[in-house]
């Protein structure tokens, strides 16, 4: 067997996929929940960065994991709140405001890191804590499966839980119903008495909530320090994963798994002198293709409905529909 195939088929590779996937999936859930409300949150890169930083600093100064977790999550939700304030109240374009927030996070974390530790590269001089690893009894002694699914950081199990929570929020709570209603047709939602802005604010804050966990995992699990711009594009990849997954729980999970697998593969291939660049670009290309297919189908469905309505004589003319007129 070739060394490449051997390493891909190993249990360690399966373990690596979950490890790499964890922060992506947290952030992708965040993007999904905001997108369902019709306000795509592209500030995940910044949200994760802020939470990663706050978690490390708070854990270093208080020596408490619980406080670090709470502070990190609060910071993430604050990012969502700031974004919603600027977008909903001050009428800023959500894309541009989110780009500004990413910039803000990138700058402020290094700025404060320098003040807190005197170092601008990483927080290695601070004694910060990490979340524990969980070795599941019984399962860990199963030969291959045990290696793959036991011994992960507690956050990796947390992200599976997060998918379930995401599902419950979206499909089983009144807030979830409102979020979907507002996302599909804000005017219709408004007309039945739903407060569109308030719903969107909650969606954006929830998106910050989930993103925060991704950031905390990066600096307190994946590695045990904060480094400048350590999210390294994961917030953007999360947007890809969420889009590819159609903003739905299972889809987002599978898409993140795919991105995790491809990234883990790229890491392996780079060590084998294979042009890893060509592997690394696959998930992004796949996203563009998936997005196009998804949009084309949605467009066809809409056009079909209009044709149908015209046929039965409900409307006579539709001017503003379709891109190819």
């Amino acid at each position: 067997m070739s060394p490449l195939l051997k390493s891909i088929l190993s249990a360690e590779f399966g373990f690596a996929i979950f490890r790499v996937m964890t922060p992506l999936l947290f952030a992708a859930i965040g993007v999904s929940i905001s997108s369902l409300a019709g306000t795509i949150n592209i500030s995940m890169e910044g949200t994760m960065l802020i939470s990663a930083f706050v978690g490390v600093v708070v854990s270093a100064f208080t020596e408490s994991l619980v406080l670090a977790l709470l502070a990190g999550v609060a910071a993430g939700m604050a990012m969502g709140a700031i974004l919603s304030y600027f977008h909903l109240r001050l009428k800023a374009d959500i894309i541009l405001a989110a780009i500004a927030l990413n910039l803000f996070a990138s700058g402020i974390t290094v700025f404060l890191l320098f003040i807190a530790s005197g170092d601008k590269g990483s927080s290695s001089s601070l004694k910060s804590l990490v979340f524990p690893e969980l070795h599941i009894p019984l399962i860990k002694s199963i030969p291959v499966l045990g290696t793959i699914i036991s011994g992960h950081n507690i956050m990796t199990y947390g992200v599976i839980l997060a998918i379930v929570v995401f599902y419950i929020i979206i499909f089983k709570t009144p807030l979830g119903l409102r979020i979907r209603a507002v996302g599909q047709n804000p005017d219709a939602a408004e007309s039945v008495g739903i407060n569109v802005n308030r719903t969107r604010m909650w969606a954006l804050m929830l998106s910050g909530f989930f993103g925060a966990f991704g950031g905390l995992y990066l600096s307190m699990g994946y590695v045990s320090w904060f480094a400048r711009d350590m999210t390294a594009g994961r917030g953007w990849i999360a947007i890809a994963a969420a889009t590819l997954g159609g903003y739905l729980p299972l889809g987002t999970f599978l898409a993140s798994l795919l991105f995790g697998a491809v990234n883990a593969l790229a890491i392996y291939l780079a060590s084998l002198q294979f042009p890893s660049e060509l592997i690394s670009l696959i998930p992004y290309l796949a996203t563009v293709i998936a997005l196009t297919i998804y949009s084309a189908r949605a467009l066809k469905k809409r056009t079909h409905k209009v044709e149908e309505a015209k046929r039965v004589g409900k409307i006579t003319e539709v001017k503003e529909l379709g891109g190819s007129s």
């Binding site: 009428k91 500004a100 927030l101 803000f104 700058g107 601008k120 690394s280 563009v288």
Partner: protein
Amino acid sequence: MERFLLKYFTLIRVIIAIAIGIVISVFLIYLISEEPGFSLRSFLLGPFLSRSRLAHVFETASPIIFCGLAIAVAFQAKQFNIGAEGSLYLGAALGTAFAVSTNMPAFIHIPLVLLMAGLAGATWSFIPAILKARWKASELVSSLMLNYVAYFLGLYLMNFHFRDKEAGYLVSYELPESAWLAQFIPDTRIHYGIILALVFALLVYYFLYHTTTGYEIRSTGFNERFARFGGISVFKVVVLCQVILGFLAAFGGMTEVMGIHRRFVWQFSPGYGWDGIIVAIIGRNHPLLIIPASFFLAYLRVGGRVLNLMSDVPAEMITVIQSIIILLITAEAFLSQWKYRVTLRQAERGGAA
């Protein structure tokens, strides 16, 4: 006075946002610096205090102007294509590949290389454009993804096919001298790219505000339904404005390669595409205002570097200030109460403002 306020309200808002940003930076410096006076001076005056620093402002501004123009054309049509970075990177990589593989006299080599890079960038941004126009696929997401694809393709091309193994670090072969843009001010690296940037700013201004197609682009951005109703081909506008974006960004990236580095040196994407978004926001998507906005951003950057070098304040303060300025400028409702009150007072007085 009030009439003046209303007429230039948008511009005044931008200036107020910038002023607030500067005030916050002064506050931050006084908060953390041991010698705040000295730090403040190096930040605000530093860029003007030496020939090389001042030159650096011009060198930095040049590719940013190109990217700002690129973004402005697309944003004017409300197409949120953020793929300038990818077009710039891949366009410059392909332009470099073309330049090092060909040999001809400079007067033909220079325009040809720039054109090749520009066309490569335009072709690249045609992808999100056609996906949007034909199937309504979000250009924001697809252009963002294509940035990564462009980055990895460019990197692959440079590292595996055009890498100069004698250079000792990861760079491409050096461009032949016939494809160099001359540096025309002695002892600086200011090159003809800045002249080209200014020329293109005028061209884009003329295009957007004095041609039919430019009018169609702006109308589509203003109100797509209205534009469609008025007989404008929105399909054409959506494709064209993004293709222009790719062309301008790649062209600008190539001038940087030909004028400053003379090799392809970017192991990481240089970020000019993102800077382009910043200056397009500050310049309110107006081609001529992009010029001062780019110089302002370049000034902040150089000031930040001086601050970093000379004092105990980290340069990242600049990033924070930039983000606050952008947030305030994009917040349409910021100061709108004030405008409303002024308008009301004018109306009550019966002034025809």
